[in-house]
Point group: C2
Chain length 446, copies 2
């Protein structure tokens, strides 16, 4: 998603609001996007609970747009039907079928809101409109025209209930955004209508310092920066899809992750005191920044080693070009210096789903590369340390290597970025490594 | 539905086709609309069967547009959800929810057709567009723009798979056409694209001379005129909705009712020889016209009698104006001459669902009407004889009265039109009356 393509998402009227336009009855109004996932709208009772969450914000004087997913299970059923009709289905027809799920939820939520006396109406992707590109099945948002929604909010206090996951393509047909696309709809919509915050209601109450199933002492982070959240999401934290975090970061949309299963009436609007959830925001908004914010892990990668490759210019290209041509992403790369200085071992990781295919591609490229053998393993895990504080703190990596070595954990490969260190280890040590690092950087709660 | 509002449905290029433009490979091509109801698309296997029907017509060199209903049961589920969300739901939101059913089927059928090598794409109401009026939940079609569909047929032989039951209202929101609305979509679409025929595939193989559950010797009519079919549909033959027959009559769309459950490969395209189904067409197309075409019956009416009403000008208005104001349709009306010539009994029928309400309205109007008592009964049936041949044959009614009298059946009220005689009788005699009339007019098959 490039900035130029997203010109239409630029936050409107930002300046005006700083001068306090949105004050009503002495209270400061906020403009909010609230997004509810499939388990939050699983049946009509759940939808009514969602309506109570929305009503709470409306009663507090806020302007609200809601984005909804399909009822849990619906999308799977619709996808299964398209596959049953043909394993090689037309993505445009897939989109027509699958987008029906969010359509149903948006109408039902509008009805439930009206039933509670809240002025509301549903909006399908083509009605807003949410303009998408032509990549049916995994389309990207080009432009959202938020003007009519804003007008309805300003003039009638009307709540917009927007069907997530769908837009309209340049061919005037429904285009869906791929799994997790409703999050992206919510964040992009928040940018388009200049919302103060995008609240993602989900089945967890925030983003944790690591997976609480592995580290019971993992704590909910009150705040996390866009950059850190992007790394967390890329590395397997399932709370938000990567694309929605990217969109939030590009447009500076503050995203608040919170639970939809708490009692709507007892929930406070998050402030500085005790917000229940995690705010994803600019680094500047985070006062007490720790060096390390979280520990992530992923078992979605596989390791491939090419033994005794010629150590000469052009050999890396000979290895990685055919993989790129086959659309296989290579992540971590390690090249060992061989004993005699002329031959080397080359180790790298690929997504585990591409493991077999990657080996086939490399077998086909054996002549040009000239390696002696291929070894591979899916029995590896990538453990990562994330924190924007690492930018200004040296020695974080060294501490991590030392701590893992102290536990007898061998590091097979390393990649680093400004705010992340990832280490490839044997999968069986995953939990031990995560716990060790979580303690090391002071993330354990008492 | 007025003719002026439907200007957009006028059949295009009719003249051109008479000069043989649509001839390909030496065969005469036809342009067809094929409509499949909910039981015909109940699951993906059924949808694949529908695709085979469509492919048969495409392979025969025809241009095809298909109209589909929602999968059987889907619409009921969606309607139930809207009611669960609120008993008093917004009709616009109802339409958003309920139209999702046809959307799913249209996409799935397009996929199934493509899987068989047929060029096909789905069209939602707003994409065609099918423009509807603002009466959400029971909207009427204002205009269908068939130009793009025709272009795709002419240029690419593409099959249009159109979601039935839905259009787009003047408010740019989805509008549905009420139950049976997919039939109307099909007929109106046939008019808009100048189709040679609209094939309605259903779970019966045609229109019968009467209900075969009552008269096992009832026969399938090979042809029936628009006017007769309109009477049959109005009187309870459930094969087609009244509105779709009206639309067909106004625009001269030939409608062929046939079964979707026969083997698609063994079905012949209907010709003059042995078409399996019933063709609804202009009277002129029916060569051997019988005097009576069919016998219909309905138990959906109730009888109300006002005893000892003043026999003076204005009293009928005093009775029927308040009923009309309450939106209650009065059908059969009988006024008896009373003994002393100044007071009369007035008997009429109303829809059985309005029976209680009609009595309340009349009780409220008692002062202005000045009747002595109200009597009512729901235990009545209306039996009707239908046939355009009655226009030129006197004595049909007399024969019917005589035959029923011969069976001891009392006729409580009578209404006639040019092509129909309806008689109100005690409900317990319904089957006997239908059988008697079916035999009387020579409709029993050997």
């Amino acid at each position: 998603m490039t900035t130029s393509k997203l010109a239409g998402l630029a936050r409107p009227a930002k300046k005006a609001r700083l001068f306090g336009e949105r004050v009503s009855d002495g209270r400061t109004m906020a403009r909010l996007v609230m997004k509810f996932g499939g388990t939050s709208v699983a049946d009509v009772d759940c939808i009514r609970n969602v309506a109570r969450h929305v009503k709470r914000e409306v009663d507090a004087g806020n302007q609200v747009a809601v984005v909804v997913s399909a009822m849990a299970g619906t999308t799977n059923q619709l996808v299964a039907w398209t596959r049953e009709a043909s394993p090689l289905h037309d993505a445009r027809e897939y989109d027509t079928v699958v987008s029906a799920g969010e359509q149903v939820t948006s109408g039902l939520l509008a009805i439930a809101l009206q039933d509670m006396g809240v002025n509301a109406r549903s909006w399908l992707g083509w009605q807003v409109p949410i303009r998408a590109d032509a990549a049916h099945g995994a389309a990207r948002i080009d432009h959202i025209d938020g003007s009519v929604l804003i007008e309805r909010m300003d003039d009638h206090g009307q709540v917009a209930v927007v069907a997530g996951f769908q837009g309209v393509g340049p061919d005037n047909r429904v285009a869906t955004f791929g799994r997790g696309g409703s999050d992206t709809t919510a964040v992009a919509l928040a940018a388009a209508i200049g919302a103060d915050r995008c609240d993602i209601y989900t089945d967890v109450d925030g983003v944790y310092t690591t997976d609480p199933r592995i580290v019971p002492k993992a704590g909910r982070m009150p705040r996390i920066s866009f950059e850190e959240m992007l790394e967390m999401a890329s590395l397997g934290a399932k709370v938000l899809q990567v694309r929605s975090v990217q969109t939030a970061m590009v447009h500076g949309v503050r995203v608040f992750v919170r639970s939809s299963f708490a009692d709507p009436q007892s929930l406070e609007t998050p402030g500085t005191d005790s917000p229940v959830g995690t705010l994803i925001c600019d680094e500047e908004e985070i006062v007490e920044q720790k060096v390390v914010t979280g520990i992530a892990y992923s078992k979605d990668e596989a390791e491939i080693s090419l033994r005794r490759v010629a150590d000469k210019p052009g050999v890396a290209a000979a290895v990685f070009m055919p993989l790129a041509a086959a659309n296989i992403n290579v992540d971590m790369i390690v090249q060992n210096i061989s004993e005699d200085g002329s031959l080397t071992d080359m180790t790298f990781t690929v997504p585990i789903v591409d493991f077999e295919r990657a080996q086939e591609v490399l077998a086909g490229a054996r002549e040009t590369v000239g390696y002696q053998a291929i070894n591979g393993s899916t029995d590896v895990a990538k453990v990562s340390i994330i924190g924007v504080g690492m930018r200004s703190h040296a020695g974080v990596a060294a501490e991590a290597f030392e701590a893992l070595a102290g536990r007898g954990i061998n590091i097979r490969a390393i990649t680093t970025s400004e705010i992340k260190i990832s280490m490839l280890i044997d999968a069986s040590y995953t939990e031990l490594a995560v716990r060790t690092l979580h303690s090391l950087y002071g993330l354990d709660e008492n």
